[in-house]
Symmetry: D2
Subunit: 343 residues, 4 copies
């Protein structure tokens, strides 16, 4: 068994059921400017706005929110929300994290609009600000109100992608939480090293991607759109509205995950991926797919190089003290090896 | 040479240049209701509204209008507008029609908004209300204002389709005006008979289609959209807005013309085709393509039968006296023969 | 609580985990003709052909097969395969069915190519021929071999739709197996009656749909394609190959399930739905969506009426004796009520 | 009137009718390798192959060829073909060029397969190798043989784009041949300078584009595909076939011309644009649209920067002596100004 196979040991048997990633809470400096971007340009549905907080969701979603914006002095990621199956899962998760040094665990009443009962806030030993919850207020779906659709349209929250300085450690950690790996990137060196992995609970390609980079930081939140044509249309709409500068990368196809994607930057620099064209991963014997870090198709099936900003820039995470979690440089730089091959 | 080849003798050499079909003027009973349909639901651009008249155009167009609605007691087609190259063409056209018994010819000042100078009104011997003009006021294109697009979106006026009781006579007549045939339908009988033809001046599949049916009546006006996906999206939008009943036929593919189409009925029953996916016909040796009336792919490349309304119902034309032109039944019924084959 | 709410009581707690519907086995009269249809025209991947059996799968799938064709004297449905999580689930399912009068239960070694170990054959009291299995031989995905794709292309098996004469009883039965309802159709009468329901295990709109009609019969198998454009392209390809007659209904949009669909008939009359554009249903509080049987948008969001064949014709099921299960007429005819509304 | 308005004086009245650009003849080093690219990967139809020559056309086209490949020691552009209306036009064009110093004019029998009668070879004073012809052998269209389509599919030849060191002089020259300008790029400097223009005879955005760059060279030939989805599919196919390196730029949207594009490089480095989504330009008062060279949306409506190769590399043209026409550097570099704005 290679070192990488040892690291990709599969999902642990755990006494709780994390169902899926479900929302992100972002700090933004100008709530009006952010809402212009997310609601007016991208077409997300504004469900509630109260004081410094705005709650948005996609057209298909029935939960109260999948994106929360909070006005603050500096841009940052406040928390990433995961749905668990039962209230008891919260206790078992609290216990599980409590046994892991470096974790901060806070059980308490939900403090976001549209959420009731207890939620579990956790900052794991890697510095990731998490919130586990059981239920959220339901909203009517507007999936078939096609005459009102705007933007792509954006259907639902899909996944988060985290930059990790210690990416192999992070990949092991999330598998211990019960996540399964669908795809990964590794070096062709001896010993082989992991530079990224796509990990899931719901049967899509991923709920959480972990990629090597200065971290811990959030590389992007990702929302799902129904058709590639929707992503093209949104790019045209951004161009028409003179927001071309918000398009950082794409549209294009990733080899990894088969995603048809575009990456946008919001007014605070937070990165949003709109994507479509994934596949079903629900079979328990669905084996991880390997990509060599030196395969140019891995990150760009159509060859266009990502700009440096896409590799270098990410959003800071907020720690339990409300201040940004310190970051460190990753030991692996995926980009350099790929670019040598392409040169 | 077969009888049909004799009828399809090609465009005559004429001393005028009809450039393309350019607009339609429709009588409607409720201007607000019609504008809700054409502007709100379909997304056409309202350029001007004055009294009983409303002027609309597509997103790509630079002319003042391509669809004019006039409030009136009864639905009808007031006129069909064709652009000619020069002012002198109007005189030569007036002379040409003047030599043909049964035509009514009126040269006069333009009476529609956004048009200046002379236009030539003609009711040909078949009863078709025509208007020839030279120039129209220019409007800025909004083709790239993608963030404002609504509906399909509808790009531009493309063609008109006329039901003709004497379709072979009509096909000969329009060729004498300089139109060329791209495709036609004929019987497998002996002698072979024409049941429809697609005739052009601009290098698309057609400016004017002539099909056998109770006539003279207007079967439909057709607007061009950029992509099949736009037509699907519009159908979804009509469904979302509870306007499903406005979709009469499609979406689907015609064998004839290769059009990807949907047929809508406006609040007065006027039929509008939205279509895309034509081809270039500008080469002078581009020969007419024949379809057998018995080929089920001819009208429906994907097999779905058109509803009877699509064959039976059409809009009345207004004569020079402002009253509907009397109609007569066609001697050929394209539908019956096709349905026998499909049974 | 209304009678319908009583019937839609939600998934039962059961001691086994049926993961998803996974394949169908169809009897066909001419294996070469069927393979021309499924492999050449539709582009499914032929994995193995041995004697009277042919095994096919979609482009994304990693399992050995999702469609099996067996040459036989008469067209029929031999079995519908469902994947369970563990081998122990087979025993618990056998016990569960054993307690239900009218069921036939046979545990035995897998007899299809690419399958090993035990499978559980069941004919439930409604007459449905089922096969439960645990694992299947893996095949490489060819999802990204885009240069080889043919047809839509068809990505994966998605669901089955059964005509049931006693549809309310069937809906209750499948919920007792642990299936959850995403959408249903019911009458506007007093008392309200169910005429169809969409039931799921994997978090899509459905694994099994049950609709009122002469039954038990299989209305269709459904395969998932990635984009609406793929379905249009396949229709064009069928037209180009002079197989227009294989297109029975669509393309179009269902209100129910939001599916963008086309229905095809194979050379033996078995119906195949190709569809896309579903939504995520994995949240445990995802409540069933109701459609009135009188809402014309329910079955046809764009208005086109389904042909009678779509309501009347279905495939016979094979009973434990290898002969067709007798059918009875349904007490409800969904179509009549809908057509009154549209008239 | 500004200097630029003086240069864009509109099409001259000329005694000949150039109908459209129709084909290109390219020298390639390895005919098998080139056919693998153009026929196998891109799906162009191979009509004839004789000795060192191969003739290809698009799926919609009825002419014998729109792309001719000739095996030779070095890659180069042998000629660009334009269709004229009548045989007499050839004489009038020969006379017209004969009056212009620096032109080389050769009237002779057609020497390409599928062409008969006379053609006129011209090397204009700018060094462009042209061939004017009247008719070409007809081939059946395979537009509706959808089941055979491969690649995008590529429908028809659309335009050529020439790098010109003296672009303003070239723009004046082509207008003198009767070409009209649809769009142009100019500097914001005083005096304003043209850096590119899109010129047409057929009523699309262009037959010939002239852009500032080391020249005279051919920047690209362009083929039209029917839908943006076709371009995405082709990119996926190239990726699947491990030909990602052939994709130089895109897919994306140009502001200029509204083209949805992708740029490919063939095995000899010749550049091919596949594009769709143009608009109608046939009205005589269709005024040129100006783009500032400093508008980042001009060349990239979605923001992605073109690689340097796209600006720097082009194909050499063959002169009347069969050797490459010497090139000179352009005085304007469109790229630098745009990149300053984007920085």
């Amino acid at each position: 068994m290679s070192a990488v196979q040892g690291l990709l040991k599969g999902p642990a048997q755990v006494p709780f059921d994390i169902m899926r990633v479900a929302y992100g809470v972002l700090q933004v400096r100008d709530l009006d400017a952010s809402l212009h971007f997310y609601e007016e340009l991208l077409g997300l549905r504004l469900i509630a706005r109260e004081g410094d907080l705005a709650y948005l969701k996609g057209w298909e979603e029935r939960q109260h929110h999948s994106l929360v914006l909070r006005r603050a002095a500096e841009p940052a990621v406040e928390r990433l929300g995961f749905r668990v199956r039962t209230d008891g899962d919260l206790d078992r998760l609290a216990e599980w994290y409590g046994e892991r040094p470096g974790s901060t665990v806070r059980m308490g009443d939900a403090d976001l609009h549209g959420m009731h009962g207890r939620t579990l806030r956790v900052w794991d030993h890697l510095g990731t600000p998490l919130e586990y919850y059981v239920t959220m207020e339901q909203q009517p779906t507007v999936l078939q109100d096609y005459h009102l659709h705007r933007g792509a349209p954006i259907m639902r929250f899909d996944h988060v992608n985290l930059h990790s300085a210690r990416v192999e450690e992070a990949i092991v950690h999330w598998q211990e939480l019960g996540f399964r790996c669908s795809e990964y990137i590794s070096t062709d060196t001896e010993p082989e090293r992991l530079t990224g992995a796509w990990l899931l609970r719901k049967p899509t390609v991923h709920d959480v991607a972990l990629t090597a980079g200065r971290g811990p930081r959030l590389h992007h939140l990702a929302m799902w759109v129904a058709e590639a044509g929707g992503i093209l249309r949104l790019c045209d709409q951004l161009g028409g509205a003179h927001w071309t500068h918000a398009i950082e990368r794409g549209p294009g196809r990733h080899g990894v995950s088969n995603a048809f994607f575009v990456y946008l930057r919001d007014p605070d620099g937070h990165r949003l991926e709109l994507y479509t064209s994934a596949y079903y991963t629900g079979d328990p014997d669905h084996a991880p797919l390997r990509w060599s870090v030196n395969d140019p198709r891995c990150r760009s099936f159509w060859g266009t190089r990502a700009p440096d900003s896409w590799y270098d820039e990410s959003s800071l995470l907020l720690g339990p003290d409300g201040r940004p979690v310190p970051t460190e440089e990753a030991t692996v730089d995926e980009r350099n090896q790929a670019s040598e091959v392409m040169a």
